[in-house]
């Protein structure tokens, strides 16, 4: 692991330990009350869920253009994080919505596009696992769709009729709500980098293992 990995892991762990205290001290929201505090973990998860398919899509485009295996490995790692953070977002969102909107789910543009994005992440992983030879390029093409879906997920709340809060909520947050949110976003961003590093390390080790098997056969 790189030198910065363990200090960053400790910092991330400490931030996750502190975050409940900051969240508990944040004021309740006037209409949603206590349940809005799901936001402090829901939104950072959702942002990582948007970042991961972008990395996956850009790396896949590079892999299709240049054919370098490290781009493919980065795309695979990012696809797994897409599924992880997508699952966290799609579970915490309905838990919040049940109390705030009175329903677990609505088929609006934001939620539906998020579900589609998450399923594209699954499609990528299933293709890589069971697709056989040539599945790397096919999965890379799937990842492009996942990346194109990201701006649609982000902006959909501003253009379509929905009960999901628009993107203007974040810049207009009062400091008492914004400070814990940005703290959590930082913690999730560090965690994302750490998980991505670990996942890439796994792919590198697998590549090394394949090379060793070939060397043993020769």
């Amino acid at each position: 692991m790189p030198k910065w990995f363990f200090p960053a892991a400790i910092l991330c762990g400490v931030m996750f330990l502190i975050s409940p205290l900051l969240i508990a001290n944040a004021p309740n929201e006037s209409t949603m009350g206590l349940v809005y505090k799901i936001y402090f973990y829901h939104m950072p998860s959702a942002w990582m869920f948007l970042l991961a398919p972008l990395i996956c899509g850009v790396s896949s485009a590079l892999f299709l253009a240049r054919g370098r295996p490290e781009d493919d490995r980065r795309a695979w790692a990012a696809a797994e994080l897409t599924v992880l953070f997508g699952a966290l977002t799609l579970v915490t969102g309905p838990l919040w919505a049940r109390r705030a909107w009175g329903t677990w789910w609505v088929w609006d543009a934001r939620l539906t596009a998020s579900l589609v994005g998450w399923m594209i992440g699954w499609a990528y992983l299933i293709l890589r696992r069971y697709g056989g030879p040539g599945s790397d390029k096919l999965a890379a093409a799937v990842a492009l769709f996942g990346a194109v879906n990201v701006p649609f997920i982000f902006l959909s709340v501003n253009y379509w009729r929905t009960i999901h809060p628009p993107t203007t909520v974040v810049p207009r947050l009062p400091v008492s709500m914004g400070a814990p949110l940005w703290f959590c976003v930082t913690a999730f961003a560090i965690l994302f980098v750490l998980l991505m590093t670990m996942r890439l390390r796994l792919e590198d080790a697998r590549t090394r293992l394949d090379a060793l098997y070939v060397a043993l056969d020769d």
């Binding site: 929201e29 006037s30 206590l34 207009r172 008492s176 043993l216």
Partner: protein, 104 residues
């Protein structure tokens, strides 16, 4: 002839089953589509310590959300560490095998 009739009957049954499942899913959704959703919330307003009136208890949902996130992340880190450890052990074993073969 009999076989094709049986196939057709099975196909019709499957079709009916699919149609009834679709009806069960689509009809409530159609009804829900006519309900006017509340207007979107443009900004979050901080309030003092007094919570807003709540019909559904918020605390279990809040706790469930945090438990899901932390448990999910923890499970993924454990899974990743185990996979990484397993592959690294295999790499070390094969490197040892290669070294022994080279010495022979």
């Amino acid at each position: 002839m009999i076989r094709s009739a049986l196939r057709f009957r099975t196909f019709t049954r499957v079709l009916l089953l699919v149609a009834s499942v679709l009806c069960c899913v689509a009809l409530p959704a159609r009804g829900a589509a006519y309900q006017q959703p509340p207007p979107p919330q443009d900004e979050f307003v901080a309030v003092g310590d007094a919570p807003a009136p709540e019909q559904l208890p918020a605390a279990p949902l809040l706790i469930a959300a945090y438990v899901v996130v932390l448990a999910g992340l923890f499970a993924y880190v454990i899974s990743l560490s185990r996979r990484l450890g397993g592959v690294q052990r295999d790499v070390e074993r094969l490197e040892g095998d290669l070294k022994r073969r080279a010495q022979r």
